[in-house]
């Protein structure tokens, strides 16, 4: 049975492996250059003790590939579901060949288990290898931009894509069993997989673990934004700073007073009368910009506020990257197994 399953999957497997090898060749050639550029610069800036402020020029190398590779890793699981999963059983149902396959001396259970096992493991291996190769290739880029935990990049690294591939495949198989039509199953797989990824990314992943809440001085990161407007009779604008947590996932950055509340504009205007006055003058003059407070006055104001107001950053630290990766993979694999169970149940119910 295993050899038959392999034979039936041969064409797809050859296409898959060929694309993987082609990608590997491109990545090895361009990746060597990326690593070289990154290392050379790191060496140089470390010698000059100026790495913190310098931006590694590796981010400007192979721009088009930098744009393409994340998309390749992003869509590969969906493609596996579309082209390996959806036709796997649907095509047999569509062509009537299930009547041939299921009347040999092989039980239905074994037939399904072998097919799903073979194609499932192959797809997971393809997704895993591809992601691993791209991770290696992109390592200098990820190191340079320090945002590997962010929403855009988390799902195209590590082991999560293995879970996505398993899920997309199982979804394709289930849709095929239910619809008995390959093309319809492909459409459902594409839409369903996209929806599942969005739901997990935006609704499930943020709640996997309570984020760390950390109070930082007001001057942390880019420092607060402070200004004034003539709107509403002259108002003070007081906004939170940009705080980056290297390789962490920042949920939010807010300003809080000692009681944990957001400071009101009145409070800021009261604490920094020079800014409050500037706002009123602006409003009184009908929006004509006046001299305004000087930089030194603003700095003084921030220094005064920083005794009572802090920056609160809510985030997942970099150390949770791998636990989150494993959890994400686990969620999708469990869902995949559930879908496989549904497929089997539907087949047993409709057929025998």
């Amino acid at each position: 049975m295993i050899r038959v399953a392999v034979r039936q999957f041969r064409t797809e497997a050859i296409v898959g492996v060929t694309l993987l090898v082609a990608t590997a060749i491109v990545l090895v050639i361009t990746g060597a250059h990326l690593h070289h550029v990154y290392d050379a610069f790191e060496h140089q800036c470390r010698a000059a003790r100026d790495c913190a402020n310098a931006s590694n020029p590796v981010q400007n190398v192979d721009k088009s590939l930098q744009g393409v590779m994340p998309i390749v890793v992003l869509v590969t699981p969906a493609l596996l579901g579309l082209f390996f999963g959806a036709p796997l059983i649907a095509r047999e149902l569509e062509n009537g060949t299930y009547r041939l396959a299921w009347t040999q001396s092989i039980t239905r259970k074994r037939w399904i288990a072998v097919k799903l096992g073979l194609v499932g493991l192959f797809s997971m291996a393809v997704a895993g290898l591809l992601t691993w190769m791209v991770d290696w290739w992109a390592h200098p880029l990820l190191a340079a931009n320090g945002d590997r935990f962010g929403l855009a990049l988390f799902g195209i690294q590590g082991v999560a894509p293995i879970g996505y591939a398993a899920f997309a495949l199982a979804l394709g198989v289930a849709a095929g069993v239910l619809l008995r039509h390959t093309v319809a199953a492909m459409v459902v797989t594409g839409v369903g997989f996209g929806a599942a990824r969005l739901v997990v990314t935006y609704l499930v992943r943020p709640n996997l673990a309570s984020p760390v809440r950390k109070l930082l001085p007001l001057s942390a990161g880019s420092g607060p934004s402070i200004g004034f407007t003539n709107a509403g009779g002259g108002n003070v604008i007081f906004g939170p700073p940009q705080v980056s947590v290297p390789n962490g996932w920042v949920y939010s950055t807010t300003l809080v007073d000692k009681a944990g509340h957001a400071p009101t504009a009145q409070y800021v205007a009261h604490a920094c009368p020079v800014i409050g006055r500037a706002a009123h003058q602006l409003a009184a003059s009908g929006g004509r910009p006046g001299a305004g407070p000087s930089g030194a006055q603003i700095q003084a104001c921030i220094a005064k506020l920083s005794t009572s107001i802090h920056t609160l950053v809510t985030y997942q630290p970099a150390s949770r990257f791998w636990p989150f990766q494993l959890a994400e993979m686990g969620i999708f694999i469990v869902a995949a197994l559930a879908l496989c169970g549904c497929s089997y149940w539907w087949l047993r119910r409709r057929y025998a």
Binding site: R99, I106, T107
Partner: protein, 296 residues
Amino acid sequence: MTAALEAHSLGKRYGNKWALADCSLSIPAGRVVGLVGPNGAGKSTLLQLAVGLLRPDVGSIALFGEQPGSSPEQLARVGFVGQDTPTYGGWSIRDHLWFGAQMNPGWDQVLAEGRIAELGLDPRQKARQLSGGQRAQLALTLAVAKRPELLLLDEPVAALDPLARREFLQGLMEVVADQRASVILSSHLVSDLERVCDYLVVLVDSRVRVAGEIDELVASHYRLSGPRRERGGLPGNVEVLDERHTDRQSTLVVRTDGQVLDPSWTVEQLGLEDLVLAYMTHAVGEDRRPRLEVRA
């Protein structure tokens, strides 16, 4: 001896429509059984239930006392040729034989290759390039080379031209003679079955109207014709299946174990085709209007 096929109050439903309802049937082993009935009578459903491709909604079905599809051993005992004789279009004949060998421990490669050679088929030819008749022969070869004890064929010749039909049925007869397998073959054409079967089951509206040895059936059915009269006056062991009256004449189709001795009747033996038609007409007249059904 265990029956080759035994069904009790078997039913299968698609949505609200019963494709087969309350079907009870016992088919002895060692026969070549023709399963005949109009389109939509449930023949295909019954055979797919028998081979485990469908699961009954009510009742039970067993082949040699075992539930269909319950184990690899059970599956090995049954060969199946599905409607439209499905094959893998992109695979060659040789690929199909390899498939059969991989999937069946009892596979007889010599038999399979022999049959393909006898048919004059090129093993390298892809299934989708074969004619309907050739594809049917390939499907039969696959079913036969697993050396089943029971061979089920679901309208295998429905889509074939008369010549291919004859060749297929001849091939089937040779196999049956060689292997002594039991066979259940469905068709809506009695002429197909007459040539190969020794046992007949007539299925109408999923009910078994009549089942038995063809010789006995033919020997016990008569057409009586004579001057018009009502059916009274026939002996008690005569069952009237169909009656038609014109102003002057009455024609009855009857079943009896004895003989009709009344000299006012002209008694004819009934051909198998007329016999089956009598059962179908009878059933339709009694239960409901005929159903017109077009099958692709």
